[in-house]
Symmetry: C2
Subunit: 185 residues, 2 copies
Amino acid sequence: MSERNGFVVWLTGLSAAGKSTIAGIVAGELEQRGVLVERLDGDVVRENLTKDLGFSKEDRDENVARIGWVASRVARAGAGVVVSAISPYDEARKIARSRVEEHAAFVLVYVATSIEECTRRDPKGLYARANAGEIATFTGVSDPYEEPADAELRIQTEGRTPEESAALVLAKLEELGLLRQEVAA
Amino acid sequence: MSERNGFVVWLTGLSAAGKSTIAGIVAGELEQRGVLVERLDGDVVRENLTKDLGFSKEDRDENVARIGWVASRVARAGAGVVVSAISPYDEARKIARSRVEEHAAFVLVYVATSIEECTRRDPKGLYARANAGEIATFTGVSDPYEEPADAELRIQTEGRTPEESAALVLAKLEELGLLRQEVAA
């Protein structure tokens, strides 16, 4: 059988940027529209696939490589894959992209919440700890985040609800021909 | 969309039992019959997903767990997944089975080539080295292989060509309703 037309939507951004929340809304809406969806959330993947890995550059890159490999296999099988992972390094993201693009479309979404806003939200108190010097490799504080120049979509989340941000992702998928436009009944 | 009807065929057995050869023939035939196929070969998976792992029981179990997790995701997306991996421990195979069976059928195939025959073949000279005491954890020699009692199919490969063994796998898939029977033209 020829390969099906799956795709990968990959949300990158800082911790607490809103990636998982937006990904969840996007996934739900895709399912509503008849797409078979697979969520690959960074934290869940770490549990199933990469619990051996830490937060060094090498380990973060390996984490992204494994997510990219799995995403490529699942998208090849026809699913719409929604990834949410900090994925801070440009080169590792590009490797994931090229791997996926052998089989399916890759849509990089930069959830561009500012470090100030993420620090203000800080749902797990991690920014506070990182700023106190308690976390040696915390992205955006004590570890780099390389902003993507190749994102298909950059979302300025401040001043937008997660639903509004998710709508931008869905509109991009429609624009790219990966999702049929919804027609009002 | 409701989940598609993928499945996982999981070939277990000793090193040099013929798992990969049979898996390759099965995969090719499935593709001929219009099934979108994903091969997950133990050696390939170690490269992409589990290169951190060694050959202790713990690491072998983690290897099988990761293959099982990926197989479950890809089968859920609708593919026919063909796994070939020594997967020597019963409990780890059962965990993989239950994970897959949340979404798709799981067909365990025991490629039951005897240790004597595997030692005779020894394509990589590994049995010779293991028998000389040079490999501390070599399945069947210095490390256990737990024969499955829950295999859907046990193939006695000796006296059969790989093509004949593969035909048994395909017949089993037909019998289980996972593959349409081929009708002579």
